[in-house]
Every structure is written in C-alpha cells, then in structure tokens.
C-alpha cells in the first residue's frame, strides 16, 4: 500500500512543509523606509532609517553604513546612532559634486552590523546637484571601501523592500502556475494516448486533469491578484501576463464548451482530444513567448530584476522546489479522485436508467 500511494503521501508531506516553512521562517532584517529620501550636494544629510525585523541595539557596536552609487563608489556614514531597536540615524556628508553625468542620482543604502547582518535598500536616496561635473565629483568622492559584510547564517527569507512579508506568496503563486502547466501537459499526454488507442478511460483522465488545471489556473490568478494588490496597488492592472493567463483560461473554458456541443460520446472525446492538443500548443507562445516581448510589471521584464538572480536565495529554494513538486503531485491526486468520482457517477447513472 505504501508503495502504491507513496506519491500521495509525498505530496501531503511536501505541502505541509511548504505551508509550515513558508509561513514560519522569519524574514531577514531589512530596511523598510529612509527619510528624507532626497538631498542636495554639499549638505550634511541626516537619514532616519526604519528597519524591519531588526534589533539595532544589539548590533550597535561596529554598525556601519554606506551610500553606494555603483560598484566602487560608496560614501561611508560619518556618524551612526542607534535610536531604538528599529530606528537608526545616519549622518552623511555629501560632497559638492557627484561623480555622475546627470543632475539627480540615486543611491543605494547599505547598513551592516554583526547582529543583523547586511541589509540593502536600492534607490534609497536621490541626491540633486546644482551643476554637473563628473570629473570634479570623481576627485571629491571619497570612494570609501565597503568592508567585509556580515552574512546571516540562519534560516531566513530575503527581505525585499516592496515585497516584504508577501515574498512568501512565491511558494503559492508561482508553484501553482508551474503545477498548472505540468497538469495540462499530463492532460495532453492522455489526449495523445486517447487518439492512439481510442480508449474512453484516457479521455476521461484528460478531462479530469484539465479540470484540475483550470482550478490551479484560477488559484494562480487569485493569489497573483492578491499579491498585485499589495505590491502594485491594484488587483488587476492589465499587465501582459495577467491578460495572457486570463486568455489561457478562456481557451480551456472553450474546451468544455466544445465538449458539451456534441451528443455522441466518441465524437466528443475525439474532437476534445484534438482541441486539447492544439490548445496546449498555442498555450506555449501565450504564456512564455508573448510576455517576454512586451513590458510587464512582473519580475524579469520591463527592467524589473528577475526573481531567480536576487531573491530566490538558497533558503527560498529549499521551500520553492518542494512546493512545485508538492502542488503538482497534489493536483494529480485531485484529478485521479475526480476521475474516479466521474466513473462511479456514470456507473450509477447506468444502473438507474436500466
């Protein structure tokens, strides 16, 4: 029995792990807010930093901070003062000129101490200069070296400024999509098998998988919409990927409309299988090709950094990949239950009619 049901047990274990680890593991200390977010050249800039999950009082000894422009151009804080566990006051002396070719330049804030580890806030401060003189700026710029940063060794998820706690949705939104594609793939395999052998069971399995795939698609859309509300500010922002996935769902709704328009079960199964295969072939350009062409709010498009490079660190991978496998196996389990329920109900139907 264990041998037969191992994948069902595995899916439950993996999903439990996903829910527990995905919800319990804390976020890395990060920088929530910096005020003021702009300044001018030649000023003494005092920044009020609000941390997230931080305990600055315990790391006050040897706390360092930099404003970084690019790889080897950074300005160290002149004075750092810990106000409370979550509040810092940093003082920077901005030189008279910036080593930049534009009037306004954005700087990344890096804070590092032994207790909280290093945290980064991209484009934290915008500095305006009155006249542009990159050469002078280059000479004036102290180019303080960013010393060895402390890496946190604990199990933590990375902190991203606009994502913060919602980063945990990575274990639900993204695996649901991947699971959907894998489940549709399984449905296509059964459709192909149907066309090779014309066994009704194969078609029924394809239908069950498509149903679960649609469920996953809707769940992916809903989790995405909730995430979008928290990060982009609206449930639906006509993003290319949102549109494309809505269209993908329409394609699969059409699959059921097509099936319902035939009386003859053999014809229903055969034409359904043909359409299912054709629809999956158009799904590939729809979900993977078109969103890459146009700008999107999603990570990895329109100048947004991809998740893989920055955010999906090793701790997250330890939850993300099991989540993908867990959701997919769980989907197959749901499909097999649905298939068996359909079989039983058709049997009951036959018994009633005879």
């Amino acid at each position: 029995m264990i041998l037969q049901y191992w994948w069902k047990i595995l899916s439950v274990v993996l999903l439990l792990y996903t829910f527990i680890a995905g919800m319990v593991v804390p976020l890395k200390p990060g920088i929530l807010e910096v005020r003021p977010s702009s300044g001018g050249t030649g000023e003494l800039l005092q920044l009020q930093v609000t941390g997230y999950n931080t305990d600055y009082t315990r790391g006050a000894e040897g706390l360092r901070a930099w404003l970084k422009m690019k790889e080897d151009l950074a300005l160290a804080a002149e004075k750092t003062e810990v106000l409370s566990e979550r509040q810092l006051e940093l003082t920077f002396r901005i030189p008279d000129y910036l080593p930049a070719n534009q009037k306004v330049q954005d700087f990344t804030l890096i804070v590092d101490d032994a207790h909280n580890g290093a945290s980064v806030l991209p484009s934290a401060v915008f500095i305006t200069q009155d006249s542009v003189a990159p050469a002078k700026g280059q000479a004036l710029w102290p180019s303080d070296e960013i010393g060895r940063l402390h890496e946190k060794e604990q199990m933590t998820f990375p902190f991203r400024n606009i994502l913060s706690e919602t980063i945990r949705n990575t274990y639900f939104h993204v695996p649901l999509w991947l699971g959907m594609v894998l489940i549709f793939l399984g449905s296509v395999v059964f459709s192909i098998r149907y066309l090779r052998g014309f066994r009704e069971a194969d078609d029924q399995k394809a239908v069950a998988l498509t149903t679960v795939g649609i469920l996953y698609g809707i769940l992916g859309l809903v989790t995405g919409a909730i995430w979008a509300k928290n990060t982009w500010g609206a449930y639906w922002s006509w993003d290319v990927k949102q549109n494309m996935t809505a269209i993908a769902l329409l394609i699969y709704f059409a699959y059921f409309v097509l099936r319902n328009s035939f009386e003859d079960p053999e014809r229903k199964a055969r034409l359904g299988a043909v359409y299912n295969i054709f629809a999956f072939a158009t799904l590939i350009p729809l979900i993977y090709v078109i969103p890459r062409m146009t700008d999107s709010l999603h990570p990895g498009a329109g100048g947004n950094p991809a998740f893989g490079s920055q955010d999906l660190d090793n701790t997250m991978r330890m939850v993300f990949y099991p989540a993908v496998i867990g959701w997919t196996l769980f989907g197959y389990w749901m499909a097999s239950l649905y298939y068996r329920a359909q079989q039983l109900s058709s049997k009951m139907w036959e018994r009633h009619t005879v």
Binding site: A254, R267, F278
Partner: protein
C-alpha cells in the same frame, strides 16, 4: 510528390467552386464594405491608432466569416468522397493555402477600402504588407483548423468564435504591434523578433494541424 499533386488538384477545386457560386467572396466583400461604411459614418475623422485597431478588428471578423464555411459548404457525403480519393493532410493543407490567398485578398481590399473612406495613415507600405501577409497566414492556419473542428457541431459559427478568438489573440497582438510600426505610431526596434515569433507560432500551428487533422475527418 503525390501530396503536392493532390494539393494542386484540391486548390483548383476550391477555386472552381468559388468561381461558380461567387457566394462567399461577394458576401465577405459586402460585409467588409458595410463595416467600413459604418466605421466611417461614426468616426468621420479617424486617428491613426484608432485606424489600426479598427482595421484589424474588421479583418479579424471578416476572416472568421470567410473561413467558417470552409468545411460546411460541401456536404459530408462529398467530403467522404474526397477522403477516399486523397490524403487527409492534402485536404487541410489545400484549405489552409486557399484561405491564405483568400484572406490576403480580403485584407488588401480592406486596406484599399479603408484608405478610400478613412484615409491611409500607412507610412511604410512594405512593412504593412508584410504584417498583412503574416496575419493572413496565422489567421488562416488557426481558423481553418478550428473550422474543421467546429464544422462537426451543429452551431458551428458560434463555436468557431468561442474556440478561435482566444487562440488567435497572441497572433493579433503581435500583428497590431507590427502594423503600428508601419503606421509610424511606435518607434520600436524589435521588428525582427516580432516577425520571428509570428513565424514560430505559425510553424507550431501548421505542424499541429498537419498531425491532428487525420483524426478529425473520419466521420
């Protein structure tokens, strides 16, 4: 070789059939011209971006109407007769080729009619023609295959729209982008990748149609 001969023979048959009835082409032309007339009377002054969107909507609906009849105009007994004579892939390929020609003619006529009544904002005629050609190919493959499926049902016209519109949206979006460049609305650099994407989609779809059609004809 035999396949090519069969395709040629079937294409000839399609043309003769069309020439004898002239029912489809005249109906479609009337449709296109009346739509354009409505567009003109309601807009009078058409901005290039509106022109672009309207043009493709008219072409899209005209294409669906032109192709939906592909598999229902001849009765099923005669289709059974063809299938005994020729290879089913020859049937679908000849229909696709014939429909490419039909749609190209249709979209060129729409372009002509649009430029007469609503002005011609196209700056780069070559690029626009390329968009029309790629559009005809993509629409023709998708719609012909879906017409083959929906032709089996009773309410084929409704089913055709439900099944084919979601499938054709990626092609349509790319086409609108391409033609927006031809109209000078968009200064984009990535024309080549758009064309490649369209060709790749066409290739996938024609391959699928080629493989799957033999399962459709048998009844």
């Amino acid at each position: 070789m035999k396949l090519l001969k069969e395709i040629g023979w079937l294409l000839g048959k399609e043309l003769t059939l069309e020439w004898r009835t002239k029912y489809a082409i005249s109906g479609i032309l009337l449709y296109v011209f009346s739509t354009i007339f409505i567009v003109y009377t309601s807009f009078i002054q058409v901005q290039p971006n509106v022109w672009n969107a309207l043009f493709w909507i008219v072409v899209l609906f005209a294409s669906v109407n032109a192709i939906v009849k592909s598999f229902v105009q001849e009765n099923s007994n005669r289709q059974l007769y063809y299938f005994q004579l020729v290879n089913p892939t020859a049937v679908i390929l000849s229909k696709i080729l014939y429909n490419i020609g039909l749609l190209l003619l249709l979209s060129l006529l729409s372009w002509l009619a649009f430029s007469v009544v609503a002005g011609n904002p196209v700056r780069d005629a070559g690029a626009f023609f390329l968009a029309l050609f790629l559009g005809s190919v993509g629409f023709s493959i998708t719609f012909t295959f879906i017409a083959a499926i929906s032709g089996k049902a009773d309410n084929s016209a409704t089913l055709m729209a439900i099944l084919s519109f979601p499938l054709v949206i990626p092609i349509l979006m790319t086409l609108i982008k391409l033609s927006a460049q031809a109209l000078g609305l968009l200064q984009d650099t990535d024309t080549e990748s758009d064309i490649l994407i369209l060709l790749a989609i066409d290739l996938i779809l024609v391959g699928m149609a080629f493989l799957l059609y033999p399962f459709l004809w048998r009844d």
